[in-house]
């Protein structure tokens, strides 16, 4: 069983939902990332989504665009991100790590090389935002051969046939983008999300994570009642940005925000069964 599947099973057994923080690797500088990953685990993260910096992050709002720019000033490449995961694995072999980024750095490295080296480094899943299932056969195949889960997005615009198509190639979990927009957009409509999740669950047995637009503990709690995982990104990256000249202070704020979400989610899922 993959590390991601094992993590979701364990959570389910305890009646808990996964909290998945996203940070851009190398933001604001390369040395900040591995310590922050460990601290986020201590604060209650179940899976870590590590953003691979890209020069043209088309699906991201200004917060994550600027995080990419900060990381790229240090030339944080996909290769470098794999090294960071390897370093994280020296002290943590349980927490799944998912890379999230854009296709071009993967194209240049080569699908087979990426799949092999990601598996070696201890990466559990890879999500390439601009790779829809139609174009994904080769990369998804390479990842699966090396035991890495290809993660895919679903969106409010995805009709039933597309949901089915995605669930056929996806592994680990599916990631439901809660709103039409870029990362860091306004807050989501929980009722609309609930309706769509019901439709998604008719098509797939994979756990469903919800992200985009979750910025506070209350929203995280409400989403945790309907989803298997809550993904939070820009709300954390904003804190890193605010303390770009004092990364330790940024890390403290990120872990505080996460711990608050963790508490709110656990209360929500134990108080009222989903």
């Amino acid at each position: 069983m993959s590390r991601i599947a094992a993590r979701f099973e364990a959570l389910k057994a305890r009646g808990r939902k996964a909290l998945i923080p996203y940070i851009t690797a190398g933001d604001p500088e390369p040395g900040n990332t591995v310590p922050l990953m460990h601290e986020m685990v201590a604060a209650g993260a179940d899976i870590i989504e590590l953003g691979v910096p890209f020069s043209d992050p088309m699906a991201d709002g200004p917060v994550i665009q600027q995080a990419c720019e900060r990381a790229l000033r240090h030339r944080v490449s996909l290769r470098k991100v794999l090294e960071m995961v390897g370093e994280f694995r020296r002290d943590n072999i349980e927490t799944p790590v998912v890379l999230m980024g854009y296709l071009n750095p993967v194209e240049i490295m080569g699908y087979e090389t990426l799949a092999r080296d990601a598996a070696r480094a201890g990466v559990d899943g890879v999500l390439t935002v601009d790779l829809p299932p139609e174009e994904s056969a080769e990369l998804a195949g390479a990842l699966k051969r090396h035991g890495v889960d290809p993660i895919f997005l679903l969106a409010p615009t995805s009709h039933e046939a597309r949901i089915r198509g995605v669930s056929e190639v996806a592994a680990g979990f599916v990631y439901y983008v809660s709103l039409k927009g870029v990362t860091g957009a306004a807050t989501l409509d929980v009722d609309a999300v609930a309706q769509k999740l019901a439709l998604i669950r008719r098509q797939t047995d994979l756990p469903v994570g919800v992200g985009f637009g979750i910025s506070d503990a209350e929203t995280a709690a409400r989403v945790s009642r309907i989803a298997d995982a809550v993904v939070v990104g820009s709300a954390l990256v904003k804190r890193i940005a605010a303390h770009a000249d004092d990364p330790a202070a940024g890390r403290r704020e990120v872990t505080q925000v996460l711990a608050g979400m963790r508490r709110a989610m656990d209360q929500a899922t134990t108080a009222t069964p989903a």
């Binding site: 020069s55 750095p105 194209e107 829809p132 995805s158 870029v182």
Partner: protein
């Protein structure tokens, strides 16, 4: 022509792309999931209306009476005499309403937007020509219009920015990344994904996800269809060579496409070599880049060894783009079209030469094509002929040219 593909294997060039938008290994649809359904809807609408006699009649009417088509195919006699080689014909897209070929495409896409019930139009622009052409048709159809433009380009194309505002468009400066055309495209995509229900994104070149490269080409192919007929009427034969500048590649593919099956017609796509290919400061992905994925399609890109897109340079804002339409990537690989570099300096010289010799001020983009034509014509015989696509007029560039020559306007 091509040594890569033997005649008996020559595919029907015009049958591409395939159903998923692939030109060989290039093209496709590389976007986030939210945009997949809208792209499929767009493809369906575009295919339906391209068969719809009423839509086509309306498009023809507009092209004739609003754009002013057909554009002339002009024999540049003085230039031909001076060069002492092949006859040089200019396809006068500079005479279109709004001053460039861009309007051929915006008219078509705006009509499609209207048919699809969209009320809001967005566009990206580099030189501002596509932005102006979009703002123009939006004004005429009464549609809201937002144009994304790199902060850097807003500086160097100030007259076009004002023109767009006069036309009622909101011009949004883009300050991310390199602050040029590629960043404007990113920002337009972000707008589209956010407002996809009521918004139609008019892409200005043959790039982007399927169906844009095919759709924009089909709207621009009027250039080549006219030129083919006009040349035959004038010379009783086909031209020996076609020359067009390539930014994203829409004016070039528009001219080339109707000639692709004519094996005797050699084609040159001219890329911006900026300060020179060997300086690294250029915008010539086909001459000096490698394949990758950006802006929804697989194509040749200017990128570093980590797969990050690198900054480009060209004196002409409309060519200052790190990618190129996927059909060009494929036509390069199969050898049907030659892609050649022209530097800023050569383009500037050609700008002056055409202005002084023929009384036609070309856009700096088009000046790249003219510059290559100046090299090519003397190598051919007087009974041969070439067509240079004069994709736009240079009025928008006079500030840039004056500044480069140390003149205050």
């Amino acid at each position: 022509m091509s040594t890569v593909i033997k005649p008996e294997q020559t595919p029907d060039w015009r049958a591409f792309p395939d159903a998923r938008g692939h030109f060989g290994p290039y093209g496709g649809r590389f976007v986030s999931e939210t945009l997949m359904e809208p792209l499929l809807e767009l493809q369906e609408a575009y295919q339906r209306y391209l068969q719809d006699p009423q839509f086509l009649a309306e498009l023809d009417q507009d092209l004739a009476h609003y754009v002013g088509r057909p554009s002339p195919l002009y024999l540049a006699e003085r230039l031909t005499r001076e060069l002492g080689g092949a006859k040089v014909y200019l396809k006068r897209e500079d005479l279109n309403h709004t001053g460039a070929h861009k309007v051929n495409n915006t008219i078509g896409q705006a009509l499609l937007a209207k048919r699809m019930g969209k009320t809001r139009i967005i566009a990206e622009t580099g030189a501002g020509q596509h932005g102006v052409a979009t703002a123009t048709v939006a004004a005429r159809l009464g549609l809201e219009c937002v144009v994304y433009m790199g902060a850097e380009d807003i500086q160097r194309q100030a007259p076009n920015v004002y023109r767009m505002r006069l036309l009622g468009a909101r011009v949004v400066p883009v300050t991310s990344g390199s602050r040029t055309l590629k960043d404007a495209l990113n920002e337009a995509m972000r707008d589209w994904v956010t407002n996809v229900d009521n918004t139609f994104y008019i892409i200005g070149t043959v790039a982007g996800p399927h169906p844009y490269p095919a759709m924009v080409r089909d709207f621009q192919a009027i250039i080549g269809r006219e030129a083919r007929e006009q040349y035959q009427a004038a010379e009783g034969r086909l031209p020996d060579a076609l020359v067009a500048c390539v930014g994203g590649g829409s004016n070039a593919i528009g001219l080339f496409h109707p000639f692709l099956a004519d094996e005797g017609v050699t084609m040159y796509g001219v890329e911006a070599a900026g300060d020179g290919i060997d300086t690294g400061r250029h915008s010539a992905p086909l001459c000096a880049g490698r394949p990758g994925v950006l802006h929804g399609n697989r194509t040749y890109l200017m990128e570093d060894e980590d797969g990050q897109i690198i900054e480009t340079h060209s004196v002409s804002a409309g060519l200052d783009y790190p990618g190129v339409g996927p059909e060009h990537a494929w036509l390069k690989d199969v050898g049907r079209v030659q892609y050649v570099p022209i530097t800023d300096r050569e383009a500037m010289d050609a700008f002056h030469r055409l202005t002084r010799t023929e009384g036609i001020i070309p856009a700096l983009e088009s000046s790249h094509a003219v510059a290559y034509g100046l090299k090519l014509a003397p190598t051919l015989a007087p009974e041969q002929g070439i067509i240079i696509n004069l994709s736009g007029r240079g009025d928008k560039d006079i500030n840039t040219v004056a500044r480069l020559e140390g003149i205050e306007l």
